[in-house]
Symmetry: C2
Subunit: 402 residues, 2 copies
């Protein structure tokens, strides 16, 4: 009989307890750590609920499932669990993207496992497929809708033609967005997840702090409408690729056209496209959050920690140098809030040969479509325009066909 | 060092050898079994090529990779390998769908593994995700584009508005279809794959011989055009579901509308949607065939057979009773080649309340759209019409929105 302790009894924690109790096998739920034990007096599991972390580190626990979230005290608890020779399963993306290499090494030294499938993609089995199934492949690129909250908001804005503010409010009311949604909205959550996937895929430590990260809080109804006119929709994408020894990574809103697999990924769904040198393009789609989808991922890690012999997986400590612009050319949509339309138009026609322009004198906006251009050049021109007196603000979105 | 013998040196076999040689680890290619050794005198691997099957069963081989295909002698070779305590990896769907339960039991008795990831979905990791990752879930349904050849032909017919015969010819010229393509075209290949997935998912032996299996050889340009008018495309789908203790399974051409995830799956790509009670809907998409995608799946099985401790996976011998009609209602497209249009029209309006009709007196065809109807009723009316003197032939296609 394998004995499991679950730290945290929130949405995912209670889902994991449910799956352990439902599945008839040799895995036993032995302890549940909570903050306030008085709240749980009437729980079905009350006889195994504790608020003493020491209960977790005893010899009777084989596997620790950390679902507290955040850096502290999760970091300390995981470290101590590993040092006490317990396998650790976590869904903590903040922690793994920050301290993954150190914690994996501690696990390795102690001959136990540290698995974190649920830290990326909720119910989608992306980490084990990247780490194990694709081990024979050189990974060329990863593209993904990695955050359910922002995808829910963007879907709402697109389907109901509602404002960002309204869509965010609905998401919060329905429990799809937290009271402080900034980590999701600003793209940091996606960036942490992309950093975990990229670190596994490219075998160098890919720090998300070095990415270009843009959120969705600047997306307006104008942008949604323009995306629709182009036959597409706006999605927040994490993109990384590996080419000639260089790693490019970014998180940003992108217009995906109707031929893209991402175009139909709506609401809380996540989708990740991995390209390997042998396997080609592989796509994984599923629910990116939620009690039982995430619990499915955690539970599979519990089983794997028992059944897998391998114990050699480590993050590379060597830090990857992150390129700020992709070497690929694509089309671009640029929205400019101007002060002086003539001067801006002059600059645009001077710098770009192949563009479509739409000037709205009521809103003082210019919408530009630039055909097949490099990100580096788009950024350079954008920065130049932003520094001039003639431009109030500027946003640029990639247009992706697949 | 783990020693591998590969039986068969065709497309996938040579891909597996390539991946073993490329990946720097403790897996060594020790023998390659071929039919005619004289053909391989100048091969890079010629010193390990043999035409003597006895070379495979010796103590120096740890893992046997069977890529000969077909039932005999693959069945005998696998049996003997397992009985000689060797792990066996195979891509052989014919064999697994027919003798899977027996071979898995022999593996179990000998405390070795029999893995067959590449038998379904080419480069898509569907079997290990169904078997391991989703072990905690009750699987409710499986829907999939499971055959690359037919998907290539249907894509060609759709994009280029060409006939079935022309599309098949192109597929054969490009190596996407075999000289005798009947197993693909008639849906038997998809049925075997669906039977393997369903046997794992529903934990009963799901024999494909009991499915309703329809191929794509009756699909005409008229059908493609009609599907497009309905905002969809035609795909050959394997569908199974488990509801209230009953298993429904079929392989048939289906009109998938533009909102379906399957609508964008083109050419040699396969896509499989699994619905679990906890995880919800999970979609896996990738190349369903080809040298290195399939070799990726085989290679991952080699690694898993070394790294996994579990050795308890068995097919259930208990045979599933297969329902012939789904309990779900959906829309239907029916094409009737008639002798007497009046009588057929009378029958149709008598049996269906909510239909759209299109009569073509030049081609003697009636195209019918029936709204939200059960398969059982569609089949009953179709059979009645087919038995009358007034109908020459009749085809019915499901219309699926997701």
């Amino acid at each position: 009989m394998i004995s499991v302790a679950v730290l945290g009894n929130g949405v995912v924690g209670s889902g994991v307890c449910e799956l352990i109790n439902k599945n008839d096998n040799n895995i036993k739920l032995s302890k549940i750590l909570v903050k306030n034990i008085d709240k749980h007096k009437n729980d079905k599991n009350h006889n195994i609920i504790t608020d003493k972390i020491e209960d977790i580190f005893g010899k009777d626990i084989d596997i620790v499932v950390e679902l507290i979230g955040g850096i502290h005290p999760a970091y300390e608890y995981i470290k101590k669990s590993l040092n006490n020779k317990k396998h650790v399963i976590t869904a903590n993306k903040d922690l793994i993207s920050k301290y993954g290499e150190e914690l994996l090494e501690i696990a390795y030294q102690n001959n136990v496992k540290l698995y974190f499938e649920a830290s990326v993609g909720g119910g989608i089995p992306i980490i084990k497929n990247l780490k194990n199934y694709l081990a024979s492949n050189e990974i060329k690129s990863i593209k993904g809708i990695l955050n359910g909250t922002t995808n829910f908001i963007l879907t709402k804005m697109d389907k109901e033609k509602t404002s960002y503010t309204n869509a965010l409010k609905t998401a919060q009311e329905l429990g799809f967005a937290e009271a402080d949604p900034s980590s999701d909205i600003k793209g940091y959550d996606s960036a942490r997840k992309l950093s975990i996937l990229s670190t596994i895929a490219y075998e160098k430590k890919v720090n998300w702090e070095n990415f270009k990260v843009e959120g969705i809080d600047d997306i307006t109804e104008t942008d949604i409408k323009k995306a629709n006119e182009l036959g597409g929709v706006i999605k927040l994408l994490g993109i990384s690729n590996f080419e000639k020894g260089k790693i490019y990574a970014s998180v940003r809103p992108v217009i995906v056209t109707k031929d893209s697999e991402f175009a139909k990924i709506n609401n809380e769904y996540n989708s990740i496209i991995v390209e390997g040198d042998s396997v080609g393009r592989l796509t994984f789609t599923g629910k990116g959050a939620g009690k039982l989808p995430t619990a499915t991922a955690v539970y599979s890690d519990i089983v794997d920690s028992i059944q897998n012999k391998e114990n050699s997986f480590l993050f590379n400590y060597e830090k990857a140098f992150i390129e700020n612009h992709s070497s690929e050319q694509c089309d671009w949509y640029i929205k400019i809030n101007y002060k002086n339309s003539h001067k801006v138009l002059n600059e645009l026609t001077e710098h770009f040969k192949n563009i479509d322009l739409e000037v709205n004198k009521k809103t003082n906006q210019i919408l530009v479509i630039v055909k097949s251009e490099h990100e580096e050049y788009i950024n350079a021109v954008s920065n130049k325009l932003l520094q001039s007196q003639d431009v109030k603000s500027l946003n640029s979105l990639m247009i992706l066909n697949n």
